[in-house]
Amino acid sequence: MVEGLLFAILVFMVLGSIIAVETRDLLSSVIAVGAVGFGLAVVFLILAAPDLAIVQVVVEVLTLIMLLRVVVSRKDETLAHSLRRGAAFAAVAGVAFCTIFLVYGWVCFQDLPAFGEPLMRVSHRYIEQGLAEVNAPNLVTAVLLDYRAYDTLGEATVIFTAIVGALAILRRKGRTTDERGDDADR
């Protein structure tokens, strides 16, 4: 039951991503990417990860808002008559590279444990003694904020840097003069 549903949703995601990449209309491809993201949230639910499903749904909605802001606001005519020189070679080379990647991926996947039997060398200790040591029933939070708090500190740093970078790029220089007095947040 889990396997059949998982297979169906994964095939749906791959087809949706192919549509997102190949279609010419940008609004349709944004919607297709949204469908892939929501499919991923359903996969998280099927594979027993409720924290991740919540975060994935909310992050997907925020990503869609941001992508729509870019897609709707542009009026780009240069793409219609852009040069086609070298486009066929690029497409063939891209497909060949991805095929070689898949073949080598298949060779490497022989070493992974079979689906449904994870190795869990480190997680045995987290599961057996997590409740006794941290006293938090949510084991994912216990791992994230107690056993692996360094990684969370690193992630907070990365997000801070990315957001400060985004704020620095979109600063005052892009605005018209009548808005300089009433900007809410820099």
């Binding site: 994964l10 594979l47 994935q56 780009d76 689906f115 039997e117 084991l139």
Partner: protein, 114 residues
Amino acid sequence: MIYYLLAAGLLAVGMYAVLVKRNLIKIVMGMLIIEYAVNLMLILVAYRTGGQAPIVTEQMRVSPGPFVDPLPQALILTSIVIGLALVALMVTLCLRLYQRYGTLDTSHIRRLKG
């Protein structure tokens, strides 16, 4: 095994978009698909057949059943939010580039020096 191959196929589609496409928005969407594929691969490795979500309830304290692996779930959680911050950065770059060059076609942007 087939699930790993499907996740690798999703990654290959995203890589194809980043390598071949010329529209900047398509490149951003390719990076987004690569990020989905990586999260998907991690959660596929973490699944245990018949396992439950790694949250201990009252009746499970006495007799715990099999849990899925909680360590990759913690890694994916941070990765999802970092992906959102990355998409924000890329979209702001696209907006600035469009304002500066008037086009989102990378072959045009590459030829215009200014």
